[in-house]
């Protein structure tokens, strides 16, 4: 597992920190330093609220390496309240209960582990809104 790669993205995975464009005020996630809307430089950090709704989803039965323990699980595209679409796993919900338009909120969970000896990777997932 690439420790440095995960370490570099800690803030976006733990806190959902992206960027805001100083030119057009567009919110950007994941951070990419260039605004996808106006193509101007955009390096100002922006913490997203973590609330959004399910835009689309699919249930995974044959998982990639490192994710087998959680099958079946649902991955979804989440439309964040601030605009961007984010792909993430859903958690704390049965697959049959997922619906397009469902309000969800970000939680920090274990995304994967590198075997019994490797590091644990934490990051964002989304669950049905509790409050």
């Amino acid at each position: 597992m690439e420790v440095a790669r995960y370490w570099r993205t800690t803030r976006q995975r733990y806190q959902l920190v992206g960027e805001v464009c100083p030119n057009c005020s567009g919110k950007i996630f994941p951070p990419r330093d260039v605004c996808p809307t106006c193509e101007k430089e955009a390096k100002t950090p922006f913490a997203f609220s973590g609330v959004g709704e399910v835009y689309s989803y699919s249930t995974v039965y044959q998982a990639a390496a490192g994710y087998e323990k959680a099958t079946p699980y649902t991955v979804a595209m989440i439309r964040l309240a601030e605009g961007p679409l984010v792909s993430a796993q859903l958690t704390d919900i049965d697959d049959k209960d997922v619906a397009i338009g469902m309000p969800v909120e970000m939680v920090t969970r274990v995304l994967r582990e590198d075997g019994d000896r490797g590091m644990l990777v934490y990051g964002y997932k989304f669950r049905p809104v509790m409050v």
């Binding site: 733990y14 806190q15 323990k69 959680a70 939680v107 920090t108 969970r109 409050v131």
Partner: protein, 347 residues
């Protein structure tokens, strides 16, 4: 008795309980054909993507919401647990990073069996009162282990609470005084590299749990010149449904005084989080002026007792109540429990 040199209190608090519940009857059915009496109704079980770090993060975020404090003002993030995800690598830095308290903060993991959380809380009181920092976050959280078929498997639950400690003039509740009582009593332990803890059977009762809980609580009350009648609520460590009620009765507390903080039948024994999450359930409903006696117990052994007085009613400000977490439940069977605990070997 320990009393801070300047008034300190709880400026924010939050809890977390995972969604899954294993009825104790499932354990009894599998290992004793249903003949063993159950010590609790059911226990909470962490999901496959949850551990002490993730649960601590959510409890700490709830505490921050209630407080309105900026995370960068937190000078210490301390996590007490006996189920830290790593043997070497702090849970506290993961939590501090996730809540936005890094990099200029103290961070450490605490260990003292089931009282690791309250010792972090007690240290936070001193850290803030001594002017070392404006706010300190103390967390007690566990995803407890119990050997399959062992008495602990009926109760070993998951969850806990976080407390943000700060000056009393901005607090929800003031910590009036505290007291610790410890002895070398080997009632429960887990050796290096062992997956499950061992315990000394009935020895865990009188010389361990009851001696320490009642000694700490009664000494604190006598040092403060108070009796059980001066408290509106009592909450102590809850290893099963029977022990805390018996300890409370020995100390002179009624069932009414203990009811609000008794969660063990619903979520099991959350170890380092046990009395702390009970305290959050009380603070969710307590009124200004009401007084709470909190007493932890950690095997090995020791108890920390705290007298806490509510200064104002708690406002959720977007935080999730302990009752909401307790009532959010999905019942699982033993097979699913085994899967969530990672007991199946896939490769």
């Amino acid at each position: 008795m320990m009393k801070a040199s300047r008034p300190v209190g709880i400026v924010g608090y939050g809890s977390y309980v995972p969604r899954y519940r294993l009825p104790a009857q499932e354990v009894s059915q599998l290992w004793t054909d249903g003949n063993s009496p159950v010590p609790v109704r059911e226990k909470s079980v962490n999901g496959i993507d949850e551990d002490v770090a993730t649960m601590s993060i959510e409890a700490a975020r709830n505490a921050l919401k209630r407080s309105g404090v900026e995370p960068q003002d937190i000078g210490a993030v301390w996590v007490g647990s006996e189920s830290h995800p790593y043997a070497v690598k702090p849970t506290s830095t993961i939590v501090a990073e996730a809540i936005g308290a890094t990099p200029y903060t103290q961070a450490a993991d605490w260990q003292f069996a089931c009282k690791a959380g309250t010792e972090a809380f007690q240290a936070s009181i001193g850290f803030v009162a001594g002017g070392m920092t404006r706010y300190a976050m103390a967390i007690g959280m566990d995803a407890a282990q119990g050997r399959p078929g062992d008495a602990l498997e009926y109760t070993a639950g998951a969850g806990g609470a976080a407390f943000l400690v700060g000056a009393a003039d901005e607090a929800i509740a003031e910590v009036e005084a505290s007291l610790s009582f410890v002895t070398d009593t080997p009632d429960f332990w887990r050796r290096q590299y062992e997956k499950f803890p061992e315990h000394a059977g009935r020895f865990t009762g009188e010389p361990a749990y009851f001696h320490h809980v009642t000694s700490a609580a009664s000494k604190l009350m006598s040092e403060m010149g108070l009796t059980s009648k001066d408290f509106d609520y009592f909450v102590c460590h809850q290893p099963n449904a029977k022990f805390p009620l018996k300890a409370g009765e020995e100390l002179g507390f009624s069932r009414d005084q203990m009811k609000a903080g008794m969660l063990v039948n619903d979520i099991g024994n959350t170890y380092a989080g046990s009395c702390m999450i009970g305290l959050t359930a009380i603070m969710d409903i307590a009124k200004p002026g009401e007084r709470i006696l909190v007493t932890s117990f950690g095997s090995g052994a020791g108890s920390d007792a705290f007298s806490i007085r509510m200064l104002r009613a708690s406002e959720p400000r977007g935080a999730i109540s302990t009752r909401a977490y307790v009532e959010r439940r999905k019942v699982i069977d033993y097979a699913m429990y085994t899967r969530l605990k990672g007991y199946y070997k896939l490769n």
